[in-house]
Structure formats: C-alpha cells, structure tokens
Symmetry: C2
Subunit: 229 residues, 2 copies
C-alpha cells in the first residue's frame, strides 16, 4: 500500500490520469428549518474507497452528504445536504472515467418543506407529503453521451440482499452493484467492517467480512483493472 | 471559572450536593432500519450547560440523543436515540433538584416503523403515518409528586420567538423557558454563539448574543441562585 501511494505520488499508479467521482454519506431532506429526514450512513466506506483510489493515483472528486467521518485528504470535496444538490454536484463533476455511488441517498423528499418551524396543530399532526428524489445512479448510468466508462452503485439491503441487488443493477443499468446487509444485527452500519457482494454481468462475487479499509483497497484494485482493460 | 471549578472539587461549589438532570442533542425517530427523522441539534448548548453546572459542584445526569459534539466529562452520560427512550431515561434519572430540557426532541414518530427497508412501491411513495411523541418537559413539569424544584425548558423558534416561548412556558407549566431564534440566517444552530431570552414568571430577560459557553455559565449561575433561594 505504501509502495502504491509512493508510486501514485511519483505519477505512475495504475489510476494515474484517471478522474473518479465518488459519492458518500447520507443526504438530509428538510421538513422545516429544524427537522429533516436522513439515511443512516457514517460515510466510512465511501471515504475509505476515495482514499484507496487516491493511493492508486486517481484524481478523486468526493461529493459527500453530512457524514460522521471526516472526508479524505487529497481529494476535491464537494459537500451537499440533499439528493437534489448531490445530483447537481455530480453533474458538475462529470466527465469522469468512473463514478462510484456509495452515498445513501434519500429516495424521497418532503414536498413544500416549510421555511417556518411546524407547530403541533389542534388536530395533532402536520401533513407531510413526499415526492420522489432524482435517481442519481440511474441518471448517470443511462447517460446517452459522456457516460463514465464504469458506473458502480451500492445497495444497502436488510433482506433478500443478492436478489434485491441483482434487480437493482438491471433496473439502474449500472455496471456493478456493491451490495451489503445493513440489518442492525450485522453491526455493519456505523461499524468498522463490511461484508459485500460484488455483482456484475459475470455474476455475484461474495467477499468475506473484512475491514472497510480492506474492502476499499480490494475494490479500488478491481476498478483499476476494469479501467485498464 | 477556575476558582469555581476548584471550589467544586473541594466540595463547596454553590451546587455541591445538588443533582441536576440535563437533556441534550436531537432525537432520531426510525422510519425503517436505514431511514429516520431527526431534529437539527449539535448538542453544543446542552453540553456547555452540563459542564458549567458541574463546575459549580452539581452532580449532573446527562441524557443525550445522537449529538455532534462529544458529551462533557465528569457527568453520568445516558445515550438514547428516540423521544420515548429519552422519556424513560429521564424518569429513571429522577429525582433531581433541577431538570433542564435542552434536547431538541422530535414531536412525532413514525407509527409502525418498518423492520425492513422500505422499497419504492409501484405507486412511487410509501405511506408514513405519524404519532405524537411523549411530551417530556410537560410530563416532568406537571409531576404531582417528586417534581424537581426547578424545571427549565428550551424553545427553538424561527418566528414570533418570545410569543411562542411565553405560550410554551404556560402550556408546559415549567418554571423557565430559554428561547432562541434558530432561523438559518442567525447561524445559531450548529454555531458557537447563542442569543437567548429567559422567560420566567417575572417576565422576559433578553440576553445579548454571546458564546454558548458564556450562555451556559450565566444560566448555571442563575440556576444555582434559584436552587439556593
């Protein structure tokens, strides 16, 4: 790893000259000025991946929601809050050789979020109506022109992990899906380890449980290989 | 302040022998295993207040939601996620001489939160129904027996700050309300400063804008005075 980092600094890592976009963290969708809807995501896996790609020489643009972990060094950090802002930041960051969507993006936002704090009404409850967020992964994976050579989605599932993730890959038209089981009992969400399945057109690779740093290193090497071929 | 801390360690601060309960931070109300509803609250003001009370000799129980800032030292920290858990932690922590409710508690939770990740349905959107959370401040302020001598609520408002806070004090039957304007343009939410109004049965005190640490020191002194009288 140290050798790879040195080689990268000397300008001859396997990803030198490649621009890679990584999204990470959750999105926060406002309800009113003091309330929001969020996805649980510490940003740890996305951050580790951006670091591993940088170590292989890639120029990384890191579009991140409000994460728990600090963003990596030596990358261009673009902080966002909402899914809509994340889409815009992604579109601004393109073109890229690869785009890795590790963020946990909210599927919905609150329609007509209030600019005043909602009060308990006499009837007790406010009415929130939801609208679908832009699908950032599908939008980029289905670009007619300028599509990154490699588009990778993540799938955080709690049941039927491989079936849900395989269907997601097809539906979004991305190249790979990195799927994991984030049920509370796995300790993966917010934890230091991850157990992923990498799904591509050749099938499903089941990786053993390992540290998020090791998942990142292994995934970065796989990305380098894909971009080289 | 150093003198006060030393005196407290020597066992003769103005709050020595007093047990004070402080709640702080946001609550997170689950929608499903990966999504939740949250209030924006860094926990900075509650943490500073717990520190200031400890410096005056108080024994502090600190019930905190998932905050951005680290909890204070030398207090009993009780971490919680939801409003219901916070109520239970508060009830377990009583009796107390004073109870200071600085947490930003969600008013609602999602009824029947799913234990599986919700999927986009064919109709596009899931149906979330909300139910009211327990009112922790009112529950404690209106205790028939064992009520803390001093019950202090906080009011984070974005408009009609003093009118809303004065009404809140009456409705909850607490002794004081510490109110502030958390409109985004004030920079108070997540920031280092605060500008509060302290409302009690004598009226409204408008405090100038100062650091959250200074608000905490001034408030702790006011609490010590109230408990001494």
């Amino acid at each position: 790893e140290i050798v790879a980092a040195l080689e990268a600094q000397l300008g001859d890592g396997p990803l030198t000259g490649k621009h890679i976009l990584v999204t990470s963290g959750p999105t926060h969708e406002p309800i009113d000025p003091v309330r929001y809807i969020a996805n649980r995501s510490s940003g740890a896996q996305g951050t580790a991946l951006a670091q591993a790609l940088t170590a292989l020489g890639a120029e990384v643009t890191f579009v991140t929601g409000p994460a728990d972990v600090a963003p990596p060094e030596n990358v261009k950090v673009v902080p966002v809050q909402t899914a809509q802002q994340m889409l815009e930041a992604v579109q601004t960051a393109l073109p890229a050789d690869a785009a890795i969507f590790a963020a946990a993006v909210a599927d919905w936002h609150v329609q007509g979020a209030s600019d005043r704090k909602l009060k308990k009404s006499k009837d007790g409850l406010p009415t929130l109506s939801f609208a679908e967020n832009p699908d950032i992964l599908a939008t980029v994976a289905q670009m007619k022109t300028g599509r990154p050579q490699l588009v990778v989605g993540f799938a955080a599932e709690t049941n039927d992990v491989q079936a849900n993730a395989t269907a997601k890959r097809k539906r979004k038209a991305c190249d790979w899906i990195v799927a994991n089981d984030v049920s509370p009992e796995t300790g993966i969400m917010g934890g230091a380890e991850n157990a992923v399945h990498v799904i591509d057109d050749a099938g499903i690779e089941d990786w053993p449980r390992m540290s998020k740093a090791d998942v990142a290193t292994k995934l970065a090497a796989r990305i380098a290989q894909a971009l080289a071929s």
